[in-house]
Symmetry: C2
Subunit: 177 residues, 2 copies
């Protein structure tokens, strides 16, 4: 998928300074990445859904909230930290709020701002959900890799996060938008 190769249009004559296709080896790795990341995502999503009734996004929000004193974070900060669009965060928090895991509180000191506060229920749910999630991460990723491999993977993805060197259009902050 998402290829990159072509049996129809081999290496083009134009100087191969900017190669049009991937080498076979690159293709194999690229496809492995696509497949693997899809599978991993799916496995974690299912596990969380089954054991805690949470989506990954919801889980990430709860985790973030649990990490700060007061379990309170402003919507915009939350969105930036998780690299969610504001709209996405609004929708997801609305769902969490309906379930009583989180509360909205208008921000003193800035009438526009909204603070997202984790309730005790939310905290308890996260506490119960976390071990299973960690187990899943281990089972589907960590335990399958050597420490070496995992470290390289982490560094590689960190490079991806940093993004292409000179870009202006789609670098950081809001998911490009």
């Amino acid at each position: 998928m998402t290829s990159t190769s072509s049996r129809h249009d081999e290496a083009t004559p134009e100087a191969d300074a900017e190669p049009r296709w991937l080498t076979p080896a690159q293709q194999v790795h690229w496809r492995a990445y696509l497949l693997g990341s899809a599978r991993l995502n799916e496995a974690l999503t299912r596990q969380l859904e089954a054991e805690a009734g949470l989506s990954l996004s919801e889980y990430e929000i709860l985790v973030r909230l649990s990490e700060v004193p007061g379990r309170t974070v402003r919507m915009s900060e939350l969105a930036d930290a998780l690299v969610f669009s504001r709209s996405r965060l609004t929708h997801t928090v609305t769902r969490l709020e309906r379930r009583g895991l989180v509360e909205r509180r208008t921000c003193s000191a800035d009438g526009r701002g909204v603070n997202c506060v984790m309730t005790d229920e939310g905290f308890d749910l996260l506490r119960d959900a976390a071990p299973g999630h960690v187990r899943a991460v281990r089972a589907h990723l960590l335990d399958l890799l050597t420490d070496e491999q995992f470290a390289v993977l982490g560094e590689a993805m960190a490079a991806v996060v940093r993004g292409p060197a000179g870009i202006e259009g789609d670098c950081k902050g809001q998911p490009s938008a």
Copy 2:
């Protein structure tokens, strides 16, 4: 996100043979993975959408079709190869068909089967779309990594695809379902 750490519940007394949390280093890598894969996906999705009006799923289907003689693949094979649910494939192919990029043809030799055939239009579109996609893959992934790193990444993800050693519940075939 998706943590794995806890400032509230340190190492539990129970033999730490099965550690409950990730080490700080592991956390860093894990978060990098989550962020990076999200970003990469987004970048590629946007690029394809903008330049060819295709989603990644649609693109993958076209690629697969373009790779076989006759540009014809049975729905179920397509689903297995791409690791799409059957339903997802049906919907996506329906959209592609409406745009004239693909045709459905009932399968001789098995009345239930349906063959998915790429039209010339579909092929032309893919041909036009591919270079831009490859460029994006390079810009957002390949060019940011050393060959070493990319190779390790590929192998690591291949291990993920293979999955946990002894599982019966959710290994291959249909996305677990």
